[in-house]
């Protein structure tokens, strides 16, 4: 049936790893990505299994045992990380606080990711007027200081976990839109997009099955960056008293509540601060790693 002999010797042997295998190899060879992934994984498990892991009720106050120091500063194993100014177990609050931080990070990044990706891909793919409108909206958004707007909105609506998540989700889409627009512009000029259109594929099909898989790596990187961004903003808002309201355990709130005692009991600030730092570091390392691992397609 073959009309031409396959004179190409390479036709006989098509070997070599599939893209999936090469990706796996690169992932396990990347230390930053591994470290970030493991730390994030542990924190995620801690957040999910918080009720099983926490030694005490994070809301239970005990005014008899206020500001007990942690074990390494001469405390007891009853409260491994000591207690706060209301006698609540610090480790338990830290564990429950992971839930708040991660939930805000994940949901806010999801909301803004959906908004920003839809806008960016539409702008990049359709161009013209759509692009002009989206670019204008991005500029408007970039002209607004996030913290100030978030503060104002929270001050008007009252602070709660839901309000903080929604406000951050509606504010952090700018980077998604910018990055997705640029990536889409780059990909839509490729000939496989023209080929799919010449085949008769519908616009949603072209976007979802030809363009999205090729810009997903950029999307993942922005997701991780914005997650870290949202977590830090929540901490900042809670620290200013306009984020998550007490007695909900939140790392930013813990720093805020500890700041009055900072000179005498510095660990009240240092412990939640250090965990916050670790989480953001892990997320950023993972984002960096994902970019390294996925960006160049033919790198060995």
């Amino acid at each position: 049936m073959a009309l031409t002999e396959s004179t190409d010797p390479l036709l006989q042997e098509i070997t070599g790893p599939t893209p999936g295998q090469m990706l796996r190899k690169r992932v396990f060879g990347h230390q930053g990505l591994l470290f970030g992934g493991i730390v994030l994984g542990i924190l995620l498990l801690v957040a999910i299994f918080a009720p099983l892991l926490a030694p005490h009720d994070p809301y239970a106050q005990s005014l008899m045992t206020r500001m007990e120091p942690p074990v390494f500063l001469g405390g007891t194993w009853e409260h491994p990380l000591g207690t706060d100014h209301l006698g609540r177990d610090y480790l338990s609050r830290l564990i429950y606080g992971a839930r708040v931080s991660l939930m805000i990070g994940v949901i806010a990044a999801l909301i803004s990711g959906v908004i920003g990706t839809a806008m960016g891909v539409a702008a990049g793919y359709f161009g013209g007027r759509v692009d002009m409108v989206v670019t204008f909206l991005i500029n408007v958004r970039l002209a607004m200081p996030v913290v100030l707007v978030a503060l104002a909105v929270v001050a008007i609506l009252g602070g709660s976990l839901q309000v903080v998540i929604v406000v951050l989700g509606l504010l952090l889409w700018d980077r998604f839109a910018v990055v997705m627009r640029a990536s889409t512009l780059q990909v839509r000029g490729r000939e496989y997009v023209a080929a799919a259109r010449a085949i008769g594929a519908s616009t949603p099909r072209v976007i979802l099955s030809e363009i999205m898989p090729n810009i997903a790596n950029n999307l993942i990187v922005v997701v991780t960056l914005e997650m870290a961004h949202a977590i830090l903003l929540e901490a900042a808002l809670s620290f200013l008293g306009l984020g998550v309201q007490p007695p909900t355990p939140s790392w930013g709130l813990m720093v805020s509540e500890g700041k009055n005692m900072m000179l005498f009991e510095p660990w009240l600030v240092l412990i939640p601060g250090a965990v916050l730092f670790l989480l953001v570091l892990a997320i950023n390392l993972m984002g960096d790693g994902l970019r390294d691992v996925t960006a160049p397609d033919n790198r060995s």
Binding site: L11, A198, D297
Partner: protein
């Protein structure tokens, strides 16, 4: 000629495509005529070679034929029906492209099976089992082993990728294939394989090709008719023998002279074209070719030449216009 027209599977009538190009932020949009009043007819089973320099509008013409761009004016007829009147799916069944760069025409995230079966899935032809069978069949036809189905484009060489692209174009059994420089990104040794494959497939399936290229040797090898394009216009059209043996238009002659020969010591041929390709936003007056033409006269600067029939086709040049004031003096 009229007989040919009736058999024409693809016909272009005075097709013009104008883009509006904005220069700078506050600059006024100026028209760029990428394709200027092109009329071509392509009889069934023939191969029309479309030749021209980069930027002369070849690829824009290909996009119009594929329905990816709409012409600003003029008509494109497929089997006598206008392109705009057909829905995209039925047009896609008739006309399929093979693109220039096989490194960019295959989605790197998709397996070869996904790429080749995409037309079947888009058109809703058959079920999973049929797709598998069809893909195996077409891969065999283009000379690829069936086991490449599960590999990815990055694992293949340029020639193999181009075979995959050909398989994708042919799996729906189209009538017309638009080959947009299908060999220019390939090694010379692989080029001939792909060209032979295209030639074999044409005979096997009775395909009609529009073969776009800047490589005259490739066109001579495959085409039955040749059209030469310059700044969006067809300046000369003739059958292969007529064009390669007796090129009329000075531009065609220069192109023919520019072909590199394997003869050592000859050096790089001098086309005498000298000046760079003109800016299509600001095309030269009169005959668009006059600033580069070795036979240019005052008349060419002022008046655009008209299309003149020749024994093998037609040409747009004052040299062959009996009514042009320069003809007698120059040709004699």
């Amino acid at each position: 000629m009229s007989q040919q027209k009736q058999n024409a599977v693809l016909e272009l009538r005075n097709v013009t495509k104008t883009y509006r190009v904005k220069q700078g932020l506050f600059g006024k949009a100026r028209p760029l005529t990428a394709v200027n009043d092109v009329s071509l007819s392509l009889p069934r089973g023939e191969v029309l070679g479309l030749v021209g320099e980069s930027g002369c509008g070849k690829s824009t013409l290909a996009k119009i034929l594929l329905g990816l761009e709409m012409p600003s004016s003029g008509q494109v007829l497929v089997d006598g029906q206008e392109i705009g009147a057909q829905d995209r799916l039925s047009l896609a069944r008739r006309i399929q492209p093979i693109f220039q760069d096989p490194y960019s025409s295959l989605n790197p995230r998709k397996s070869i099976f996904d790429i080749v079966s995409l037309p079947l899935r888009v058109h809703g032809v058959g079920q999973q089992a049929d797709w598998d069978r069809e893909v195996r069949k077409i891969l065999d036809i283009v000379g690829l082993p069936a086991r490449v189905m599960n590999t990815y484009p990055s694992q293949m060489s340029g020639g193999q990728r181009q075979r995959v692209a050909i398989a994708r174009a042919l799996i729906m059994k189209p009538e017309i294939v638009i080959c947009d420089e299908p060999t220019s990104a390939l090694d010379v040794s692989v080029q001939s394989q792909i060209l032979n494959l295209l030639g074999d497939l044409r005979r096997e399936f009775g395909l009609t090709y529009l073969f776009i290229s800047h490589d005259l040797a490739v066109v001579e090898h495959l085409a039955t008719r040749v059209a030469v394009m310059y700044l969006g216009r067809i300046v000369e059209e003739a059958d292969v023998a007529g064009l390669f043996d007796a090129a009329r238009h000075p531009y065609t002659q220069a192109l023919l002279k520019s072909v590199l020969t394997p003869e050592p010591g000859l050096g790089v041929p001098d086309t005498q074209l000298g000046m760079a390709y003109p800016n299509p936003i600001d095309p030269p007056s009169g005959c668009h070719f006059h600033p580069r033409c070795p036979m240019m006269t005052e008349h060419c600067r002022k008046v655009a030449p008209r299309s003149l029939p020749t024994p093998q086709g037609r040409v747009e040049c004052h040299l062959f216009d009996p009514e042009s004031p320069m003809t007698k003096a120059e040709v004699a």
